[in-house]
């Protein structure tokens, strides 16, 4: 079905990071770079999620999705 290690990095990490992290950062006066921690947390997870997905693709998944097949119509290359 779906590859487990890919699910762990690509789905598990962002979901735990955002939904698991929210209770910890929601009700605090802490600030990072002048921003309330709550907003900073969400901002940070935007690029981090992209990184997680890119790692999944590069490490685990790209071989299972071969490059788009060329039309096999015998056209000269």
């Amino acid at each position: 079905m779906l590859p487990k290690r890919s699910l762990l990095v690509g789905l598990g990490v962002p979901v735990v990071g955002v939904l698991g992290g929210l209770p910890l950062v929601s009700d605090t006066d802490a600030t990072v770079a002048g921003m309330p921690l709550l907003f900073f947390w969400l901002f940070a997870w935007c690029p981090l999620t992209s990184v997680c997905l890119w790692l999944c693709w590069w490490l685990f998944d790209r071989h299972d999705y071969p490059a788009d097949e060329q039309p096999a119509d015998g056209a000269p290359r």
């Binding site: 789905l11 979901v15 939904l19 002048g34 309330p36 935007c46 999705y65 071969p66």
Partner: protein, 494 residues
């Protein structure tokens, strides 16, 4: 000057919309609705981004933070963000299902997979019901923007022009037009947001000052209690429901391959870099223009833009708003047209499907326009309600992808029960300790499915898409690892 940049942006979009006709090969309905499944990564990306970030991005989002505080901004960002990892895993499978069943809409997939006309009809009609407010939402947003920006175009005229542009694009080239227009729209939107956000930070000399006075009202920078529970459960539910929104079918199915749609998802979260700047602009509004009451809160972003930026940037903001509304209107009405011509009315020929689609689009845009001009109203909670409804399709899609002994009638019953419950809870304005009402409806929907599984299981379920994909992959691997044996000499040759 404002009008000049605005006009240049719209002309550029119009030019690309017309240029999108050039890629059309043949005039069949698959080419019209899903571009003959030919789009590469760039076009799938811009079309998907075009659909996600509607005019609510610069109207509803800053307005929500202004009026309701941090919890609104957090769920808004959180659900979009978490939809992408889910899409990374599900979209390639949905694409494969679309290819296998020659689908342009989700009900096409369900008809093909389960062979059930009833289920197809239930999903098609529910999709249409929950999409109807969407058109009005975009046009109302357009009015808000033009009212706040004080341009020589009246808000009503802007709404009329927006609807007319959407119809023109659809007649011109179907789904190709919004995809090409999105090339301009996605760039212009991010430029507008960055410009206004940076201007807001610069005006108060640094980020910390933006949040200074907001601290006096804790709800604007923190969340707890019901607000926290609403935010958390809404992120969970809407992230799961996200790609069930009927118009994403067009973006997914127009992709060239599973690889294309999967790779696209790895880049989608990067577009969200604009959100910090939207938040900065929102807090600048809280800080410097207090007292925007009710619907006026929706003008927060435009007010900041007007106060802080020069004329030509205002033109960009207006252009971004107009194109965001037009792209979403175009895709939304195209999808409603497809749902009616392919799923509600069965067995139309290809050319009839195309004409019916265009007729429905015209009617949908006309009705949306009338509603907008006649009953201007708040654009706050319409979005949540639409998600309550379309989120109920998720179990059905998961069964297509991963299987399970569920009868199509039971799946349809789950959707009907979930959707009716969602509408009732929403109308009664039930406050379930903040828990997202769509999530409650989804739980009941799943309960219906579980009971049917126990008492009345499907004896012979169709092979799930994930199993078909896995089998194909094993076969491909097998071929790679074991080169074909040399041909055996025919028996009896010796």
């Amino acid at each position: 000057m404002t009008l000049l940049t605005f006009a240049l942006i719209l002309l550029g979009a119009l030019g690309l919309g017309i240029a999108s006709r050039l890629g059309m090969k043949k005039a069949d309905i698959e080419d019209y609705l899903v571009a003959g499944r030919s789009f590469g990564g760039l076009l799938v990306f811009v079309l998907a981004v075009g659909e996600v970030y509607s005019i609510a991005t610069i109207v509803g989002f800053p307005g929500g933070i202004y009026a309701q505080g941090a919890s609104y901004g957090i769920w808004f960002m959180g659900y979009i963000l978490l939809a992408y990892p889910l899409g990374y895993f599900l979209l390639p499978l949905i694409w494969r299902a679309g290819k296998r069943y020659g689908a342009s809409t989700y009900p096409d997939v369900f008809r093909g997979h389960f062979g059930s006309r009833g289920l197809e009809l239930v999903v098609a009609i529910a999709s249409i019901v929950f999409l109807i407010p969407w058109g009005q939402l975009q046009l109302t947003g357009l009015q808000v923007v033009f009212e706040a920006l004080d341009l020589p175009i009246s808000p009503d005229l802007a709404a009329v022009l927006g609807a007319a542009a959407a119809f023109g694009f659809i007649v011109l080239s179907g789904v190709r037009a919004p995809a090409f227009v999105s090339l301009v729209k996605d760039v212009v939107l991010i430029v507008a947001v960055l410009a206004v956000g940076i201007a807001a930070v610069a005006a108060v000399k640094g980020v910390p000052a933006l949040f200074e006075s907001a601290r006096a009202t804790p709800a604007s920078v923190t969340m707890s209690g019901d607000a926290f529970r609403f935010s958390w459960t809404t992120i969970l539910f809407q992230a799961a429901a996200f790609y069930m929104f009927p118009f994403f079918a067009l973006a997914i199915f127009s992709g060239r391959s599973e690889r294309t749609v999967k790779r696209t998802q790895t880049f989608m979260p990067m577009y969200m870099v604009m959100y910090p700047f939207l938040v900065f602009a929102s807090f600048y509004a809280i800080e410097t223009v207090p007292g925007l009451e009710g619907a006026k809160a929706n003008t927060a972003f435009m007010t900041v833009a007007q106060d802080l930026t020069s004329d030509w940037i205002l033109g960009i903001v207006a252009g971004a708003a107009a194109l965001s509304a037009i792209v979403v209107l175009t895709v939304g009405s195209l999808v409603i047209g497809a749902l009616i011509s392919r799923n509600v009315l069965p067995g139309l020929s290809q050319s009839r499907q195309r004409r019916t689609t265009q007729g429905v689009v015209l009617a949908y845009l006309g009705v949306s326009l009338l509603l907008t001009l006649a009953t201007p109203k708040l654009m706050v909670t319409i979005m949540n309600t639409a998600y309550f409804g379309v989120g109920q399709f998720l179990p059905c899609m998961l069964i297509v992808l991963f299987g399970g002994r569920f009868r199509p009638a039971a799946i349809a019953a789950g959707i009907v029960v979930g959707d009716l419950l969602a509408i009732v809870l929403d109308q009664l304005d039930v406050a379930a300790a903040g828990i997202n009402l769509g999530l409650i409806a989804l739980a009941v929907n799943c309960l219906v499915l579980a009971v049917s599984r126990l008492l009345w299981p499907e004896p012979d379920p169709p092979e799930p898409i994930a199993a078909i994909v896995a089998r194909g992959r094993r076969e491909r691997r097998g071929r790679r690892e074991r080169p074909p044996l040399p041909a055996q000499p025919p028996a009896g040759a010796r």
